[in-house]
Symmetry: C2
Subunit: 659 residues, 2 copies
């Protein structure tokens, strides 16, 4: 018997869980609506498969929908009954309707089962393979419930304070609050959660309030974020949490003789894990939404940590929602451009062509939306309702005609789109998007380059000639200008202390990536020590949404005008994993899906380092000391690069090179 899976309209699983998660935010216990359109899964579905049988067999279809039937060669049967199939061609159709949740089927046959080989009847759009997810393979699985794992955890300490108890779980956590043996058995009480001790003890300002109502002496909350939990004294109870997580193993590793960097790597990993949920979240406390920029960075960390493909696929689907597209992703133009680039970069790291195929029509309609909002000259300029993000820091010259950084992200998206089109053998689109990329690149270099300042300026229409790091970093990262100009950028922008520094972990990701690309490893490791190390010095157990080294610990908790609105567990803080894997261990693909890759280890500030980087088909282990480099990989295609020397890496054979 083949393995059956629950099947649904492709994307419905993600749309449904996106709908749930984006509607879960509350503020002071009140419903807090998302600020973009949330699309819903289909309520009617039709799936089909043609099977050619050599001998008679049976099929039984199950559905989570009350209104469902199976048609076999035109004859209709109820779900749950076993239908006999004759040898030869059998045309099997499943149709269902479900309002609330989303309709799905599960079929058990002898020689075939419900899986990706079934097709969606799309009523006029292109019929696509149905959606499945490897988490939902048993008949008793329910794809309307996201399959998290849970672990019962008790607080590490408790303190009597302010007329209640303050529980400390020792580190940032996420899950359901579990109250048992509650007396009075129907007690009502309000629990205050805090990522910091101060927040949990400040009911006026704490972001997460849980209105608990015990029934028969028990209460279980929805899942919330906390390190500290304050429970007012009201009677008796036992308290624990069900820690909620996805059991994604760490395939990447990093260890060095620098204990602080090792700790940063571990905390970064924990930070990403806590945010690795239905999709990659921005942070786990406040909105718990899926944001394109945060997700884009999480993908790169993921490729060096869990290397889980499904969470990238889910996140991309959640971000994009359904057609028609009427707003940029999360309303932010940059995030739409990242979304397109992320598709190619996903393929480049994973080789998962099936996902590109299933999303290609959506990529094209995304580009149609983008193109429909360009100016007459093909440049992107902010439209009503668009949020031009680039970075939180808003010192650059904006809202004044096209912004350089945005054109660069769009240009990179065009190039990525052309590469995906090539993969899909869509020659017309290859030509189109390459031409758009070239044309935009010429315009960027012609209009935004300031020869006197030796830099790209933010805007060319204002005459301000304002230079910030952002666009110049993108020019390096995405290879958008000549080598000569790159040299000028490095000298006159990147290494120029006159140009305002980056102040957010978000843009540090891009800056440090660019710094490493130009060999400024010291800058990167110094920043790890001071910036990430600075958060740890404040007792951080996960990395923060924003960090100002010059501010006190408690001052740092404030954001958006509120004392505790900053997220203390924000995915974009996890970039050290990516940076250390790519530039210290030095492992990176040189062609899609790691068909070829290089290992360019770099000792940086370390006395020694070792670690592992996952690839689609195996793992690359690297160890480096001041005298030797050792590489062991269970995949083909690798080359060790040390200075100007190269050494082929033989699969499963330890390669040691004396430096």
């Amino acid at each position: 018997m083949k393995q059956s899976k629950w099947i649904w309209k492709p994307g419905d699983f993600e749309l449904y869980h996106s709908m749930l998660l984006h509607n879960r935010r509350t503020k002071f216990g009140l419903y807090y609506s998302p600020m973009w359109r949330i699309d819903a899964p289909a309520r009617n579905v039709l799936f089909y498969k043609i099977v050619n049988l050599e001998k008679p067999e049976t099929i039984t279809a199950y559905s989570n929908a009350k209104d469902a039937s199976i048609l076999v060669n035109g004859a209709r049967y109820p779900v749950g009954t076993t239908v006999k199939l004759e040898p030869g061609r059998n045309f099997i159709k499943l149709s269902a309707y479900k309002d609330g949740g989303f309709p799905a089927f599960y079929c058990v046959g002898d020689s075939f089962a419900s899986d990706e080989t079934w097709k969606l009847g799309s009523w006029g759009a292109k019929d696509l393979p149905v959606g499945t997810n490897d988490m939902y393979t048993a008949l008793w699985d329910n794809p309307e419930i996201f399959k998290f794992s849970y672990e019962r955890v008790r607080p590490v300490s408790v303190e009597s304070i302010n007329g209640g108890k303050l529980y400390d779980f020792g580190k940032e956590s996420f899950g359901k609050l579990i109250f048992e043996n509650v007396v009075p058995t129907c007690a009502k009480f309000t629990v205050i959660c805090g990522e910091s001790r101060e927040e949990a003890l400040d009911p006026e300002n704490a972001v997460v309030h849980v209105a608990a109502e015990a029934e028969n002496g028990a209460f279980t909350s929805t899942s919330v974020a906390f390190r500290y939990v304050f429970v007012p004294d009201f009677g008796d109870y036992d308290f624990a949490i069900d820690f909620e997580y996805l059991p994604l193993p760490d395939k990447g590793e990093f260890r060095s003789d620098d204990a602080l960097i090792n700790q940063i790597w571990e905390v970064a990993a924990y930070t990403l894990h806590l945010n690795a949920r239905e999709g990659f979240f921005d942070g786990i406390k406040r909105d718990r939404w899926v944001w394109g920029g945060d997700a884009y960075q999480s993908y790169f960390v993921n490729y060096y940590l869990m290397n889980d493909n499904d969470i990238v696929r889910r996140t991309q689907r959640i971000l994009r929602g359904a057609d028609p597209m009427t707003m940029h992703i999360n309303t932010i133009s940059d995030y739409t451009f990242y979304w397109i680039s992320a598709m190619w970069e996903y393929y480049f790291h994973t080789g998962d062509i099936a996902f590109i195929r299933s999303m290609y029509a959506t990529m094209l309609s995304t580009m149609d939306f983008v193109e429909g909002r360009l100016d007459a000259d093909g440049l992107y300029e902010k439209r009503r309702g668009d949020w031009v993000f680039v970075d939180w820091s808003k010192f650059f010259d904006q809202d004044a005609g096209p912004i350089c950084a945005e054109q660069m992200l769009l240009c990179h998206a065009y190039a990525c789109m052309a590469k995906c089109a090539e993969l899909m053998e869509d020659a017309e689109s290859v030509a189109k998007y390459n031409a758009l990329a070239n044309d935009l690149n010429e315009k960027i270099n012609a209009r935004f380059w300031d020869e006197e300042k030796c830099a790209f300026v933010d805007a060319y229409t204002t005459g301000n000639r304002n230079v910030t790091r952002h666009a110049n970093i993108f020019a390096l990262l995405y290879d958008l200008t000549s080598d000569e100009r790159k040299e000028k950028i490095i000298t006159h922008v990147i290494k120029n202390k006159e140009i305002p520094a980056i102040t957010t972990p978000y843009f540090e990701f891009f800056e440090l990536d660019a710094m490493c690309q130009i060999g400024e490893y010291q800058y990167m490791t110094d920043m790890l020590h001071s910036y990430w190390g600075g958060m740890l010095a404040h007792g951080a157990t996960t990395f923060w949404e924003e960090y100002f080294p010059e501010k006190s610990r408690i001052e740092n908790y404030a954001m958006y005008g509120q004392p505790y609105d900053k997220s203390l567990c924000h995915a974009w803080g996890a970039s050290p994993i990516y940076l250390l894997g790519k530039y210290a261990l030095g492992v990176r693909p040189t062609s899609p899906a790691y068909a070829t890759y290089e290992v360019r280890p770099n000792l940086m500030c370390f006395g020694e380092l070792e670690g592992k980087v996952p690839t689609p088909c195996g793992t690359v282990s690297v160890k480096m000391t001041k005298t030797d480099v050792t590489v062991l990989a269970d995949v083909d295609g690798g080359t060790l690069v040390l200075g100007d020397k190269t050494y082929p890496i033989e699969k499963n054979q330890t390669l040691t090179v004396h430096i």
Copy 2:
């Protein structure tokens, strides 16, 4: 206090009830999926209103969604609480999420209330006025339940037969079967409904089976169609029905000295009323779906009977569903073209510009869909998945390049689109669609006209030169050719008995309309006597989906290869109301919204006739005998036309003209 209404995303009410009604069909008790995409209402909504107050007042918002809140000037409150508003500008936002059903709000203020003056926040699309419906104005109303009226009705006779009881309700009916005082109190039994006595007594072949399961001695079914109901003997019970209907008053009337025609008018009216539900249904027994062609004809009858605007609006929204459009309406290309034309014709008869405004973007995207499927030459040719309907009778030359009738419907749709664009002051689209109409008209006349046959042929690509009535009728009806060619069509097609006759009530609608346009009243009244009268002679209490005068009564019940699959209550049989109102009473608008209209009464075969025709602002009463015509109207703009003489009709003044 202003009248509050339930508000929702425009179209959601119709999408929701469309979803319910299209998923209600069963065959032998099994779920029977619709064959086109069924779109769902939004699960997230955002509504807003800016109110400028002179003095303080309060607002209270209610929602049917658990996850809902109201924001007043940025401060968030739960629904159900009374919020104080200060004088001056107040920005009020309502947001909600609901999975299953659809989210709606109801607000009570002092000087303002929830109504069409609120806007939908559309997240990037165009913000539109919210949706409302005048049926839902009380806080305790539930827009998720369609507001039908019910009347308890008992059978007119009962007969013991075949081990059960056969109940006769005297005429076709629709509603819930009500069993009370059932013994045994939890009895299970299968009820067979029949539009005919034969069907109710044939459980093998009857279309409507009701599996009854009494609970505590009572059972109420979902609403079904029947005249006869067979209940097997199983114990004791009281049986009645709750007749389900919309209380739409008949504003149109017709009476003559011809009793048969009077009866036809009454039965036609009853037929339309039974099909006038969430939208205009095709028929009430079998699929109970909303089909564009059936609906298109129902609209015209409606304008001469109930003249209810809301049911036309609801039906148009149900038919169209949501964007993106990936298939023709009901998969049928003609139906998409009718849908566009119906928008203009609705405005022409009602003057309801607000509806055109609310649907205009959707009309444009519909035309984009249509244009995307034309051939390189701008002609419509059947694509994969398209159903080219024209008429049930399939003797014409089809599936061989572009069909003439389809181009004509498309050409009329272009012209109607241009007129709506003019109404919307969209000059670019006026020019575009007029040009498309002219261009297509030229191609139709150049390619499909056969000078030797003096007729439009079905197809020009086959060389068959096959002539059917359909395209030639459209050429007359929609004014698509020269007067000279029209004369030739009348002589060589319409009055030519060699050209196969129309055989469906559906196309009789168009034929009789064209016949009356050219003054062939005798043909029309003969057809009423023989064709519609023929159904009555068979005991029909509503008009049928199809009728073959040469077949027996029972033979006529068969369709689609099944003995009782024919619908005996089909909306398209109601056309006599339209024909008699427009051509016998002779009342028709000559400019939009009856701003001007003419009364051209015609005695036809009658000794005398009288009746009323509703207009948007009143009623036109007409009486005609062999010697006199009397007109009384409570609206301005009328002209009585008798031969070549015209008489202005003064509002509220009886005008009598001696012939």
